[in-house]
């Protein structure tokens, strides 16, 4: 009898673990999308995602079913990224270009002479401009942008993943978006010069 209940328990645990692994793997595209821009290169992102899954599969029992598995995986990933030796960066000073939220729009509309369709102003930015501008944003700010604006995490989830207060998420997001726009505006200026 005892043997039968042990076997039932072992089978139930195995079933839970397989389900966990399948659910985690089903989220891997979304995890990669965030990892790609939290890590400094494609190769780093690749390694970071593998380390994250290796650790997640080993530690699956510490995940509480019913909670946000994607956030749990990203928490592991961001901690591993810090363990990999990422150091705090100096916060860039606020510069003139960041003084208001509309400078990028103004810059793009101005460089266009107001000729093109209003809804297409954004298309003056190339994909390369955007990818390099995002990578130029200091990582404390970039992590928040990547989680919220690209990964669709709530402020609350981003705060838990990065282990920072929600107010810090909001201020970094605000500032980070402006830095991103400053970088984009600079790339437009360089192309125009």
């Amino acid at each position: 009898m005892a043997e039968a209940s042990d076997a039932t328990r072992i089978a139930a645990t195995a079933r839970d673990r397989v389900r966990f692994e399948e659910e985690a793997l089903a989220l891997s595209d979304q995890v990669y999308r965030v990892a790609r821009h939290i890590a400094s290169s494609r190769e780093d992102a690749d390694e970071l995602v593998q380390e994250t899954y290796a650790r997640a599969f080993r530690s699956w029992r510490s995940y509480q079913p019913g909670t946000n598995l994607r956030a749990w995986l990203l928490r592991i990933l961001t901690n591993l990224n810090i363990d990999r030796g990422r150091r705090a960066q100096r916060t860039p000073p606020m510069q003139g270009l960041e003084a208001n939220d509309y400078f990028l729009y103004d810059k793009l509309a101005e460089s266009d002479g107001g000729l093109s369709d209003e809804d297409r102003v954004v298309e003056r930015l190339s994909q390369d401009d955007i990818v390099s501008a995002l990578s130029a944003v200091p990582h404390d700010f970039r992590d928040v942008i990547v989680l919220v604006d690209i990964g669709d995490f709530s402020y609350q989830d981003a705060a838990q993943i990065l282990d920072i207060p929600i107010g810090t998420v909001m201020s970094r997001l605000h500032r980070g978006r402006r830095i991103l726009k400053r970088e984009l505006a600079e790339s437009v200026l360089e192309e125009g010069s």
């Binding site: 692994e21 990669y32 999308r33 995602v49 080993r58 509309y102 209003e118 298309e123 995002l134």
Partner: protein, 80 residues
């Protein structure tokens, strides 16, 4: 939640990011939308910011390499 300004467009700008993040109160949202209804200058800029977010997201989204997906599946712990 926002500090008030005498300039309605400056006030509208303060509300822009929270508006796009859907975190304004109902009253603030109505206030922003009333201003946007009558102000072409602000409306263009809101529309730009909204499309910029979508554009950035599309531009930086990279599909996961198929080889990585296979490596992740191989990390699964075999059943005893």
């Amino acid at each position: 939640m926002m500090g008030h300004s005498d300039d309605p467009c400056a006030h509208c700008e303060e509300m822009m990011q929270p508006y796009l993040d859907h975190i304004l109160s109902e009253a603030e949202k109505v206030e922003a939308e009333m201003h946007l209804d009558e102000c072409d200058w602000c409306r263009r800029r809101y529309r730009f910011e909204e499309s910029l977010r979508v554009y950035v997201r599309q531009a930086v989204s990279e599909p996961m390499p198929a080889a990585l997906k296979q490596k992740l599946a191989a990390l699964r712990i075999p059943l005893d």
